[in-house]
Amino acid sequence: MTAVGDILPEFVVDPVDAEAMKEWAVFLHDPNPIHLDATVVQAKGLGDRVINQGPANVAYVMNMLAAAFPGATLTAIESRFVDNVYAGERVVASGAITAIADGAVTCTIALVAGDGRPVITGTASMRLP
């Protein structure tokens, strides 16, 4: 998998677990209740299930990159947060190679929810081993 245009193997999380969001609240030192209490999400008009932390969504994309390029080192990643991921959803991280030069590869990245809704878009660069 070293040619421009190659599609990277998908990394799937199914389902996104509300219990993991409680762990991430501790990791991030951020007790925002939209990640912990569905009644708060409802009260804010944001849906009826707790919302996954954005950095957790980025972590799924990073896992996809690590699996696609064993031994490579992540040198840069830019993530644009375009929608939320809700507890119980299936999400798929994917990417495609856009450039290869000087021992490094650049990719587009994406995270898409089960209904086809884009959640993260962006780019990433890896230094190849």
Partner: protein
């Protein structure tokens, strides 16, 4: 989106320091729990999951998320939203190494969007330094602060 000369300007916070005061260290057990929560096993080479770029800089900066929002005259309970995050690594984050955070707010701009109405766009930069002071990563984060009271 357009800037809004007809509305009061947002607080002048550009340049405000976000330097941390306490070192941040990735704990091996927490890294393992984080990795498994995302569906992978921790790396065997002593490197932390790269998402610690965000965690280390957020936890180690000189303000909490609520404090950062307050500096922008925004109540964290009103729902700040992450717009984007970009990081450039000089090298991976290591488990057990103490890191220090430096950074600053780089902009707070009031805008209007069709979807969100009036909002402030907060831009800030954070760096993670090793014990010798070398920068091992630099992150630029953008948050959207909806200003419903100005809509």
């Amino acid at each position: 989106m357009a800037t809004l000369p007809d509305l009061p300007p947002p607080p002048d916070v550009a340049g405000m320091s976000l330097d941390g005061t306490e070192p941040f260290t990735v704990d091996a057990a927490e890294n393992a729990a984080l990795c498994r929560s995302t569906g992978v096993e921790p790396a065997a080479d002593g490197s932390a999951h790269p998402i610690y770029y965000f965690i280390a800089t957020q936890v180690g900066m000189g303000k909490t998320v609520a404090g950062l929002c307050a500096a922008c005259d925004f109540d964290v309970d009103d729902g700040p939203m992450m717009g984007s995050s970009a990081v450039r690594f000089a090298r991976p984050i290591r488990i057990g190494e103490p890191y220090r955070v430096s950074g600053e707010i780089t902009g707070l701009v009031r805008k209007r969007s069709r979807k969100l109405g009036v909002m402030d766009v907060l831009d800030y930069r954070l760096r993670l330094h090793d014990a010798a002071g070398a920068v091992i990563l630099e992150a630029d984060n953008i948050w959207v602060l909806p200003r419903k009271e100005l809509a």
